[in-house]
Amino acid sequence: MATINLSPLRTSPSLCSRSSRSPQNAPKLSLYSHPRPSLTFPSISLKSNSTAKPRALTITFAHKNLSETELVSVPPEAEDVAGKLPSYAGVYAVYDQNEELQFIGISRDIAASVTLHRKSVPELCCSVKVGVVDDPERTALTQAWKSWMEEHIKATGKVPPGNETGNTTWVRQPPKKKADLRLTPGRHVELTVPMEELIDKLVKESKVVAFIKGSRSAPLCGFSQKVVGILESEGVNYETVDVLDEEYNYGLRETLKKYSNWPTFPQIFVNGELVGGCDILTSMYEKGELASLFKK
C-alpha cells in the first residue's frame, strides 16, 4: 500500500477541506447511496445530487478512499494532536511504525480518539489517516467505516488486527472501571506473608499506586476523590487500593501508616516511593511536576 509519511508541518486532508467549503456548484457526494463502494473508484460519486446539503461538499474532499487518504504522523505530545488532526466526527485508520494498518474506527472527535489511542498503545499508533464525515448521523459514520473496512479487506484479504473480534486494544475502557486491588484473599484467611511485605511488593512492582478511601470509581473522601481525578487527568496507568475494605484489606490502614511513616490517606506511591498525600500531589500537579515524575 502506498502510504506517505507526512512531514509534521503538513496538514491532514480533512483540515485542508475545511477551508475549501466555499464553491457552491461543486460535485455533491452521494456516499451513502453507494451500495458497495468499489476499490478502484473513490467511494464518492461525482454525480450532482440536488437534494444533498451544501455542506456535503466537505465530505467530498474529506472522506476519500482509504488508499487515497494521506497518512499523517501522530505527534508524540497529546496537546499537539488536536492542532494536527480535526476535532470532528469521522472515520480514522491507525497505522503502526511499519505503516501496517492496525485499526479502523469512527469517532465524534477524531483528534480526541487518536489522542487516547496514542496514550494507551503508543507503539501501535504512529500515524493515521482521517476522513471527516460531515453528517452527525451514526449511520453515516458507520457507512464511512464500512467503506474503509471493505476497501482494506478487499486489498489485503485481512481484517485490521484491532478490528478482529475479541481484540479490545482499541476499545476505550473507562479507566475508572479498573478494579481496585485487594491485598489479601479475605480477612479470615491467614496470611502466609506479613501485610507489610504485601504492601512493599505491590508498591515496588507497580509504577503508580494510590491507597485511597473507597473505590476508584466511587472514592469515599474528598481527598481520595481529588487524587483519583488528578491521576485520571494525567492519563497515567495507576493501581488503587481501598484502605477501607475491611474484608480484603483487613489491617492495611495501620500497617501502611507504619510502612510509609505517613499518618493519613490517601497515599500515593510512584516507583515504590511515597510521593505524599493529596496536598503534595495537588501541589505537584499544579506546578506541572507530575508528568516528569511518572516518566521516571
Partner: protein
Amino acid sequence: MGVTKEQVESSLKAKMNPSHLEVIDTSGGCGASFAIEIVSEQFEGKRLLERHRLVNAALEEEMKEIHALSIKKALTPEQWKQQQEPEKSNPTS
C-alpha cells in the same frame, strides 16, 4: 472530643519554631479537620514530602484525633518572602 486550633498551634510553635503559622479549623467545630500554612527554617533543603513529615511528626499526638490534616503551605522563610513579594509589588508594576 477533638483537638482545638490552639492545641495544634501550640504544638507546631513549640516544635517547628515557625516564622508564620496559620491554622484553620475546617471541621466545622468538631476539631477533626485542619488546614495549615506554615513557614519554618526547619524546611530548608527539604523536599515537600519531608516537610510534611516534619509537620506530621510535630502533631503526632494530635493526629490520633485528627481525621484530615491539609498542609496548604510548608515553606522556608526565603520562599515565603518570595511568595509575598509579587503580591506586594503587583500594584506598582
